[in-house]
């Protein structure tokens, strides 16, 4: 059920212009496991029995920072009745795919099973979720692509899961969280990056925390603080990836930041660059100014975009980063960041629009081309 047998080139997706006038690839939409019970058919005999006997099937693996009842978790018109936001395929087809005329949407399933201290249960859950994603979403909607969910506390088992999915080209990236157990630049994670680079899978760093450490310098009191502080954690991760030399070791690997807020990056890079000039000998493998490394290897999904719409902020970001290659169109369906189809903070006529909608996603996710009929967009 995971192979590409039912997804030959004959059924490759053709790119068609969406509502913004260009073919669109939505690089961050959300799908949700409706309940752990839904994963039971995807467990092997041992885990099926264990989940039943230990009551794990009655456990909700909702991430603390992803409360389904929060207003932001789903736009009213994108919220299913009596079900978790993101759990309804028809609603995703109507809202995210048809609603924007997107040719492709990359689905991220944020699932708390990745956080378990038991490496084996975490791995069993990730495998079950990825099987469930394949059967319940990818096989039912040819425009969908997905991220590989991996257990975040076991490098070995994360790689096993990556290898298990790699032959299915509809899995286009590996999903990690902005706040895991340790900084993502650390060498302990590098075997994951080696596998990802080998299979042309970018690493998606998605907002979210395992709460193994406080999201800020201490534990805050409010969901408000937790949500805002996600952006700071992305800064930490980019700094860690650059300083530890991940991109010297894996020059072809891209990291995609999802739900990062985006606009903090240029100011943060000023500090990276300025400080590096003075203390470069500490990290002598970093031979280029950090801003250049970030420009080449970091990508960001567009929504939520922290600036007023149509204020020139996107253009300013592109100008400050000296790159129009970094932003990837996303609606962040079903999250509530905008009304109607107002997902683009720039005019549809802007030269940036096509780059964000199509060119940048295709350049970032090389596996997309393998399930696309791109003859029509060769130009």
């Amino acid at each position: 059920m995971n192979d590409l047998a039912n997804f030959s080139n004959a059924s490759a997706i053709k790119l068609k212009p969406g509502i913004f006038g260009h073919p669109a690839i939505d690089c961050d939409v959300h799908i949700a496991v409706p309940s752990t019970e839904a994963l039971m058919p995807y467990l092997d005999a041992y885990w099926y029995d264990a989940f039943r006997s230990r009551g794990i099937n009655r456990t909700s693996f909702t991430m603390t920072g992803d409360a389904p009842n929060a207003p932001m978790a789903a736009r009213p018109d994108w919220r299913p009745k009596d079900a978790r936001p993101g759990s309804d395929l028809a609603l995703l087809q109507k809202g995210a795919l048809d609603g924007f005329g997107s040719s492709i949407a990359i689905a991220n399933c944020i699932f708390g099973g990745v956080a378990l201290h038991s490496e084996d249960i975490a791995a069993a859950l990730c495998k079950a979720v990825n099987d469930w994603v394949t059967e319940q979403w990818l096989n039912k909607e040819p425009r969908l692509r997905a991220s590989i969910l991996v257990p975040l506390n076991s490098v070995e088992l994360a790689i096993e899961e990556i290898e298990r999915r790699a032959s299915d080209k509809r899995f286009v990236q590996v999903l990690m969280l902005a706040m895991g157990h340790d900084l993502l630049g650390k060498r302990q994670h590098w075997p994951i990056y080696e596998a990802a680079q080998r299979h042309k899978l970018p690493i998606n760093i998605h907002a979210g925390s395992l709460y193994h450490h406080p999201p800020m310098a201490g534990w805050g009191s409010f969901a408000y603080e937790d949500y805002v502080a996600q952006a700071f954690s992305f800064e930490n991760q980019v700094l860690s990836l650059v300083s530890e030399g991940v991109f010297q070791k894996f020059p072809d690997l891209k990291f995609v930041l999802s739900e990062s807020g985006v606009t903090w990056l240029p100011a943060c890079l000023w500090r990276f660059n300025k400080t590096w000039r003075g203390v470069r000998p500490e990290i002598p493998w970093v031979k280029r100014i950090p801003g250049d490394i970030v420009r080449e290897n970091i990508r960001l999904t567009l929504q939520p975009f922290d600036a007023p719409d149509h204020s020139g902020a996107v253009e300013r970001f592109v100008d400050q980063m000296k790159s129009d290659r970094m932003l990837l169109f996303s609606t962040d369906f079903p999250h509530w960041h905008f009304e109607g189809t107002d997902a683009l903070p720039v005019a549809a006529s802007s030269a940036l629009t096509k780059r964000m909608l199509l060119d940048n996603p295709l350049e970032t996710y090389p596996r997309l081309r393998e399930t696309l009929d791109i003859s029509e967009v060769a130009a």
Partner: protein
């Protein structure tokens, strides 16, 4: 000395050779331009004294080596004793070339040709740039500005 208009490729005597011992440096000035002069094991090198960042005096910086690496976690030193670090913000420059190591594509300080010439030669006046070669003789340190 001469006026700045006639300075192009002019030789300037800036020191007596034995005045700056190996490992030492001297701040000299030519037509108002401060230049840091270094004796590196008997070879002389001259670079603009002002750091291109905020004009800290490179002559007052710490002379060290270049930390290099072939991959993360591997460290080695090269350019032993040939890298000057600005005392203000730590920007590093190769005193042989003026090349910056803190942003090689964008930052460098001007480096100047130096030579140690025999006293008599200096009376012959300016040398043409294309024929001037750094010669190591004795007596004087000469900067070709």
């Amino acid at each position: 000395m001469t006026t700045s208009a006639s300075l192009a490729r002019t030789r300037h005597v800036v020191a007596h050779a034995n005045e700056i011992k190996p490992g030492e440096r001297k701040l000299v000035e030519i037509a108002g331009r401060p230049i840091a002069l270094f004796n590196l094991n008997g070879e002389f090198f001259a670079i603009g004294d002002k750091c291109p960042h905020e004009a800290g005096s490179l002559c007052k910086g710490k002379l060290g080596s270049f930390a290099d690496s072939d991959e993360p976690g591997k460290y080695r030193l090269t350019h032993l004793g040939e890298v000057i670090k600005c005392p203000w913000h730590g920007w590093e420059f190769d005193i042989r070339t003026g090349q910056s190591y803190c942003d090689p594509q964008q930052v460098r300080v001007r480096s100047y040709e130096t030579g140690v010439a025999h006293g008599g030669d200096l009376l012959k006046g300016p040398y043409k740039a294309e024929t001037f070669k750094v010669t190591v003789e004795e007596d004087y340190v000469v900067i070709n500005l």
